[in-house]
Chain length 323, copies 2
């Protein structure tokens, strides 16, 4: 199924045409980007789960998507590709080290994708890619020291220090797996991880477990909380407490100028940001208060980040964050 | 009172002669460093506390110490000075923003010290200065992504990212003021700050409050814990739990290659590092395990860091961490 190009102004701007791919745990998205920076076509496909062949299957799917773009848009010839996947990703080595539920182990995504696409490929982590889009073109652009968090099925972040993405060997930004409570057990094996308490998925799961309901997501839990359901209120409030506690640790250690939050939970808008700001302020004392901002690029941030990274490979003058 | 130069090999190495000053909440230390890198003389004085004139009084004391060095060592003429103070320090602006119990507010230490000493002055935070010594010459030298923590009266750290000190506008590394427990109240106004639970001073204070004893420090609490005192054991164990929890947050967010711990508490050696490593390992799951190492420069790390920074001003080829 093809989705129409976003009606929002395309933030990429002119540059080389590129291919952008953002692989998630459930779906993968691909976009063909033309020389004006427009996402000519955006496709979404189920991520091909195939046990320990999943890495190969993903690369094959990317190649098929590229073939389709070429057939339908012969006038747009990508000069490079950007590929993002979740999990533990070693950007420098071009390797997908590990991803929960996705089967690969040390899979050389960059080399395999370059061979399949006959294009230079920039390979990174999905949250870091989306973070780069926010940092170069979105809400994080005014800041040199800034953390961009994605709160959806999971929780992770991209850390920018002195204007540059910091990857920590591919392992930085895993604040979703910081212990913030005595429970519940997290899929990673840890206890009380932020992600197990406060991700959009965890909020729905915890409410359903508590009440026997089967709400599909955090949005519905928030609606019930706002309608006066005490269980929903307790779950939502405890998620806010956990998020604020984690943010306070980030502030104490890094003192970022801003923390930008995207992902599904950020759709809650002021119902998330206002109480979160208040709780964070209640924990901090002398610390530097970060601006707490919603991400601004929207659901295609990963694709835009992948496109930026692909263009970087071509030596085009990249859009840089303000200094 | 003059203390003899450290019998340990001097790590600084050849360079310009400089003056190094490390101001603490109780004492200040000053050293004259000669061209061979030897600490020719190390002096310790009570920090002159004089209400909101404390900044001026510190600079006056530094000038007097420099005069004394000149009289006694006319053959060693410093070409620059390094000055470190505690609290919130804006390295770039050269300003001591605030320090608990030390009276100053936005005091222009660098400018005042340059005027008083007639020398160029490098100004920074005491823990960052000691961290730079560890990062260039000590236990942190093999690492590009490393956190150097000092655990003594307080708890703070120096964060090195991609081989460079990150200051966060002078506010990074304040993990001592991360909430890790429901109490006690911290001097900063926060609740359950790491520093209020696990600093050397807090360990003694908490044990004394619990038992009515009046032990002078954490060392004596550890001795009692090892001798089977259940109160001492409970206090020591809860400090280890708090430290491990905080380290786990640092690991999740930054994935440093190593965490180096200095300050008074690190004197406990294996009694600190072994259970801390075990607890940290018990919290982490897929995360990158940092090396957990004792600082190696010793009690003069601040002076050595101040001397390194002073030499940096002179454009001498600075000793750099391994890449």
């Amino acid at each position: 199924m093809a989705t129409p190009p976003s009606p929002a102004p395309e933030p990429l701007g002119p540059g080389e045409p590129v291919l952008a791919v953002d692989v998630g745990g459930t779906d993968m998205k691909a976009a063909l980007v033309d020389a004006s920076g427009r996402l000519v076509e955006v496709l979404r496909r189920p991520t091909p789960l195939d046990g320990d062949r999943t890495g190969e299957a993903v690369v094959e799917a990317v190649a098929r998507l590229a073939d389709g773009f070429r057939d339908r848009h012969p006038d747009v010839t990508p000069a490079a590709a950007g590929l993002l996947v979740p999990g533990h990703v070693d950007d420098d080595a071009g390797v997908g080290v590990f991803a929960e539920n996705l089967g690969w182990r040390d899979f050389p995504f960059r080399d395999r994708a370059e061979a399949a696409l006959h294009l230079p490929v920039s390979f990174s982590h999905d949250v870091r890619g989306a973070g780069e889009a926010e940092h170069r073109l979105g809400a994080a652009a005014p800041y040199r020291d800034v953390v961009v968090m994605a709160i959806g099925t999971g929780i992770a972040g991209a850390v920018f220090i002195d204007g540059r993405l910091y990857t920590g060997g591919g392992m930085a930004g895993e604040m979703g797996h910081s212990r913030v409570a005595d429970g519940p057990r997290c899929a990673c094996g840890g206890i009380g991880c932020l992600e197990a308490v406060a991700s959009a998925a965890a909020i729905a799961r915890r409410y359903n477990a508590r009440t026997g309901a089967s709400l599909p997501g955090a949005r519905e839990v928030l609606e019930r909380a706002e309608a006066g359901d005490p269980d929903a209120r307790a779950v939502w409030d405890s998620a806010l407490d956990a998020l604020a506690l984690d943010l306070s640790h980030t502030v104490a250690l890094l003192a970022p100028e801003a923390i930008v939050i995207g992902g599904g939970l950020a759709q809650a808008g002021p119902a998330l940001f206002e109480p979160l700001r208040e709780r964070l302020d209640g924990i901090l004392t002398f610390h530097r208060r970060p601006a707490l901002l919603p991400a601004s690029i929207g659901e295609n941030a990963g694709l835009i980040g992948a496109a930026l990274r692909a263009r970087d490979l071509l030596g085009a003058p990249a859009v840089q964050a303000a200094s």
